[in-house]
Every structure is written in C-alpha cells, then in structure tokens.
C-alpha cells in the first residue's frame, strides 16, 4: 500500500491523540474512588515540630528532684527499667551540663548550671544522622520533622546508635516486658528484644490531638512544644523572648530541641 506523507502524518496525529487521552481517562477514573486512608481530623499537624526546654523554670519552680516528665513519658510508652547502665532504655533523661553540652563549656559557668540536671531527649534533628545510616529505613524523617522509628522494620543492627551523637537511642538487649515498672499502658505497644527505641515526640498523641506527655506533665510549664515554622506557636514564643542553645550545634544536625538557660 502506498502511503503519502499527508496520510502518514494524519495517522500519526490520531495515534498521539489516543495515547495522550489515556492520562485524561486515568485522572478522571481516579477522582471517583474515595481515599481509603486518611489522617485523623483531630490530629495536630506542623511543618516542623520542636521543643524548647526552659531549664531555669525547671530548676527554680519545680520541686527538687522532680521527674514528672520522665515518669509521664515512661508510663505512656511502657519504657522498661532494666536497672543496669549498659542496658538502660532512655527516652527522656537527666544529663549534666558538661555531658549535654560538650564543646560549649567556658569552664567558668555558675555552680548552678554545672551541677543541675538538664533534661535531654531525642533532638529530632533536621539532618538526622541516624536516618542516614539505617540500612532498612526503619528510622526515617517524617514530613513534620519527627524522626520516626518503625519497630516492625528494625533489624537491630544498631548503626543508628553509632550514628546518633546524642546517645538518644537505646537497644533492647532482652525482652523488656518483665522490666516495665510503671503500670502498663494498654494503648501503646511494648518493644521486642532486638530493636532500637527512642523518644518519638509522642507522635501517637499528636495524631490524636494531644500534646506530648512530658509537656503535659510538667507542672511548671518548663517544656513548650509547637511548630517551629509558625511564629505564633508556643515554642517560637519561648524562643523569641529568651536566648537559647542547642546541643552540639557544630555537628550541623540541626536539633529540634532548644534549651533556655
């Protein structure tokens, strides 16, 4: 069959139109199915969750030896108390100034700062080294800035523990269930032997529209939590009115936990 240039172009044009319409049909077809999965409407959302810890308030207004935030966290997340330092499971804990802020010491700090405990937790860094080294992506950054831990996927290689410069990650060397001293929270899972765990910024509570357990538990309101990108948020108000520092800023991980001292 003889085909002229004109015919060839005509047929070619029709074919291109047909292929192009496939996208339109697909797009129209998709809009008809409702979404099967959706976020909780009562949940809180943010561009980047962050926390400001006012240590002055904690020391001055809080009763001496107060560990309300730690207790609240541990009972909310079924954190075990193994009893040895090597196997300790840490979500939020106390650290001395020299250990929390090495490299930022002048050596001439007031006695109070040098001796008083600082509350430390996972910093939910912007450039989290733990997520970069995880071979299974069991730990990963969420769009809202939370460094999330997927226990289902963790193989227990502990690269993330080596990668974290803040010691915020703990490994379950043994079944933690018998060591949970607080009353078991039946709405949150425990962990299994062989997985790494850490503070999750109470993402399960944020998803249900509640503030993190430690923030809620602090009677002297030393912990403020909110969206770092929202100028009206609690955390921005706290940071905007006072000078704050972060842990190990020289590493460039951009921690999301700020300290007012």
């Amino acid at each position: 069959m003889e085909t002229g240039r004109r015919n060839f172009l005509k047929i070619g044009g029709i074919c291109a139109l047909g292929l192009g319409s496939l996208r339109v049909v697909n797009a129209l077809g998709k809009t008809e199915t409702p979404p099967k999965f959706m976020a909780n409407l009562q949940g809180l959302s943010a561009k980047r969750w962050a926390m400001a810890i006012d240590m002055k308030k904690c020391w001055e207004k809080g009763p001496p030896g107060c560990t309300d935030c730690v207790l609240a966290c541990h009972s909310t997340h079924n954190v075990p108390d193994i009893g040895t330092q090597k196997e300790e499971i840490k979500w939020i804990w106390e650290e001395k100034y020299e250990n929390a802020f090495p490299g930022q010491q002048s050596g001439m700090e007031p006695e109070a700062i040098r001796e008083k405990p600082f509350m430390v937790l996972c910093n939910h860094c912007k450039n989290a080294p733990c997520t970069r080294v995880c071979p299974t992506q069991a730990t990963f950054k969420r769009a809202d800035g939370i460094t999330m831990m997927d226990f289902h996927r963790c193989i227990g290689c502990r690269y993330c523990m080596a990668g974290c410069p803040f010691g915020a990650r703990s490994f379950n060397f043994r079944d933690p269930r018998p060591y949970i001293k607080t009353e078991l929270n039946p709405t949150f899972p425990t962990r299994d032997r062989g997985v790494v765990e850490k503070c999750n910024f109470c993402e399960e509570r944020l998803g249900a529209g509640k503030m993190p357990a430690c923030v809620e538990a602090c009677k002297c309101k030393a912990l403020s939590f909110g969206d770092l990108e929202d100028p009206g948020s609690e955390v921005r108000k706290a940071l905007g009115s006072q000078y704050s520092i972060r842990r190990k800023p020289e590493l460039g991980t951009e921690p999301g936990v700020y300290y007012i001292i």
Binding site: P34, P35, F37, M38, N40, D144, M148, P186, G207
Partner: protein, 137 residues
Amino acid sequence: MKLYDGKYILVGLVIFIVLATFPVWFNHGRAAPPPEPKLDTPVIAQMITKQCVLPKEEMITGHMKLLNDWRTEVVRNGKRMYVASDGKTYEMSLQNECMKCHSNKSQFCDQCHNYAGLQKDSDPYCWNCHIPPKESK
C-alpha cells in the same frame, strides 16, 4: 536369587516401616478439630449489624495483608483512619481497634493460628509487642 540373612533383613524392614509410618497410623482418626474462631464478645453482641472492616471472606483470606497495609499507613505515612467501603471510619490499630471488638484473642486469633501450626510467639509475632486485651478465664 538368594537373600543372605533374609530373616534379619525382613525383620529390620518391618520394624523400619512400622516406625516410619508411626505418625500416620498413630494419629489415624484423630484429626485435630477444625478451628472455630468465636465472635461472642460483649462488644460484638451489642452490634446491630455485625460487620467487620471488610466482608468476612475477605477478612479470612486477607487480614494479614490489611494489617500490613494499616501498619504502613500509620507508621510510615502518618495516616491513622481507615474508610471502609460503607463509609464508616476506623482507627487503624490492631491493639486499639481490632481488639476492641475481638477482645478474645485466645478464642479468636489463636484458634486458627494454632491450627495452622503458626508457632507461638514467633509467627505472627504481633503479640511480642502489641498488648492483647485481658481475658477473663
């Protein structure tokens, strides 16, 4: 053809066959009863339309895939609500949603899992971490 030491060989063969087939004839006629997952929990009893997230047949064959998809959506994508085909929304949580109705783990989950020979605490290992509701025995 002559069979040397035929006596011993035949006796040995008989003993071997008896031993090798021991599990077959020993368990003959004693098949394990088929599993009967029970739905007689207080919450289900109060439901007017007894309908799970998906139709029963789909749940029987596909609950593991559903749970896996839920896990991915909640943990990795931060989406916590599931919209069923009838428009009802559910919280995607084994511990807080599935077990609200199916509060009888030993009479529901374990029935089939044990029958199918899934080893306790190893496969599926949901309950190593997730806390089943307390059952009154």
